[in-house]
Symmetry: C2
DNA sequence: ATGAAAGCGCTAACAA
DNA sequence: TTGTTAGCGCTTTCAT
């Protein structure tokens, strides 16, 4: 760490004690610091460019001004939306420490537990965990204000902001059914995250209610890079299905590419639906029919919940609905050769 | 912060002093701690679940295990690539604290200075700053190991990893010239970042060498959201130009949408080129002709440079070339009505 | 209204 | 080889 100006330096210049500087800095000046001394301190702080040492403050008070945000993968724009929501709700007195699996941790699968552990050792005052995996949440110290985003459930002592996938999934099923589809396939992410498993489960229920069945075993991928997805999809996709549902938007881009490479046009010869619906969904060609998840909103919600929690408020659980946005990537069931 | 087990607790149980615990924890046991005491400490640490308090360590040693990464905007996937590169080069003993402008800071323009200040008060051992603005770098304390990414220049005491835009820009000019374009327009981002200004400057030089001129005043935007970009482009684009160059890929998506909305097909009636070339460039329709910037590689480079700098190595400056990737969004000059 | 002093949990220099 | 002591920079309680 770099040698910096300390409260003692300021005190020396202002002709008072470090304690007075502390009081003044923290605005606890009422009935404690006279105006003259206050003014001298102000001048000295200004002149010396004094900035309190957070580490010392933290050690002294036992309170950190750091909020930690743990998320599984840098590659999902999804987390940009959440982050944007969170930062809209917290003020500049907080430090936001983002923690994600390191590259080698990700390569050997997951790494989110390790990421959480690293986040914890920074001694945060509050914690936000996005799209956690099953085995992670038991690491969260009870007593640490925590909000979990995008999971079915969380420990008692954690606030929770989650999606209700039921309406979105029901709409997908109704939409595909109306278009005559009866045999579909599912492409998912190979991670044990609540949110992913639930999307699949709600979808399964909804499709069953419409007598639509999965005609291929699910394709589970561990990577969302479009080119890698495209390769795997090419080997998997057969003429057994007339529609494919992707558990996440990121997978759909590769699926579209693969489908076209195989000579099956979208939506002419294959319909494609996804979950997530971020900005690119409406930009690609064909634009993507997708279950919209209000992600910026859930980020704001999480930010609010954490702020209130850290301030001593109660644990809250909020659920926001999803809905289907129909675009160009779905159409009537193809007549198969 | 949660009440935790301290070294004193461990010492009490092991029948030694806190100092011995510290030595043992830090592996400085040679000739200092006997095997018997060491074993008792090990047992006590184990039984009590002792984890050293980072804050106290940091205050005591003056050394933090935190690396700070400052970047201007969550919305650029660009930074995901960099982050991916950085995390490939650092090990788990480091905490990586990401800092970006808060939402309200961004709204009133920039906020990157504020973000840097927030990063600094965490007392990082090293610093990476991506795509800085002109007035930021003077805030960096000399003596703090720092690497600047994606800027023309940096203070003496900072390492620098930058792009050479000259080859990319030259290729753009040659490509457009060969296709017969003579009048073009430029869409940029309204931020005083070196990288953006330099892209524009190198492009200007290169086009001039090919007698291609800017037939419209540059359109400078403060937002990269495709829908907002599209609106502004619609008002700006005229038949004076047959090709448009975007300073960043993110702008091109909106530009394509706007162009098509105005009834000018791409590339039939308008050619489009961008800088940056991230994954979506090859996925959208038409795929984007773009100046490729090796961003993951520059992230790794930065990670290496910082690691070596923190370990006492020298300041380094590295420059990586850019190159044009020709795809579908450019074609022969349109015959204008 | 002000100053002195203790202590947060750890490390490092010192003495024993 | 071990134990003691003095800080790191700040906050806070207690005298003055």
């Amino acid at each position: 760490m770099i040698k910096r100006v300390t409260a003692a330096d300021v005190a020396a210049r202002a002709g008072c004690t470090p304690a007075a500087v502390s009081l003044w800095i923290n605005g606890k000046t009422a009935g404690r610091i006279s105006d003259q001394v206050g003014e001298r301190i102000r001048e000295a702080v200004e002149a010396l460019g004094y900035v309190p040492n957070r580490t010392a403050q933290q050690l002294s008070t036992g309170q950190s001004r750091q909020l930690a945000f743990v998320f599984p993968d840098v590659w999902y724009t999804f987390f940009s939306y959440i982050l944007d929501g969170i930062t809209a709700e917290i003020d500049e007195s907080w430090d936001l420490a983002l923690t994600m699996p390191l590259r080698h941790e990700r390569e050997q699968g997951g790494g989110t537990r390790a990421a959480l552990q690293r986040a914890l050792r920074g001694g945060p005052a509050g914690l936000i965990i996005a799209s956690p995996e099953r085995e992670m949440l038991d690491l969260v110290p009870p007593g640490l204000p925590t909000v979990v985003i995008d999971a079915d459930s969380a420990p008692e002592h954690c606030s929770l902001a989650r999606y209700d996938f039921e309406p979105g999934a029901a709409a997908v099923a109704a939409h595909l059914s109306a278009a005559g589809h009866e045999r579909v396939g599912y492409i998912g992410l190979d991670r044990r995250a609540d949110t992913l498993l639930t999307r699949r489960a709600r979808l399964g229920d909804a499709l069953e209610a419409h007598d639509i069945r999965f005609a291929l075993p699910d394709l589970l991928l561990d990577n969302i890079r479009a080119d890698m997805v495209a390769d795997r999809v090419s080997d998997w996709l057969t003429s057994d299905v007339t529609a494919v549902i992707c558990g996440d938007e990121s997978l759909a881009y590769g699926a579209i590419a693969a489908s076209q490479r195989l000579g099956r046009s979208v939506p002419g010869e294959l319909s494609l639906v996804s979950f997530n619906d971020l900005a690119p969904a409406s930009l690609i060609e064909p634009s993507l029919t997708s279950v919209h998840m209000p992600t910026y909103e859930i980020g704001r919600l999480a930010g609010q919940m954490l702020a209130s929690r850290v301030a001593g408020g109660d644990v809250r659980v909020e659920t926001v609905p999803t809905e289907l946005v129909v675009r160009e990537s779905t159409g009537p069931r193809a007549v198969l050769r």
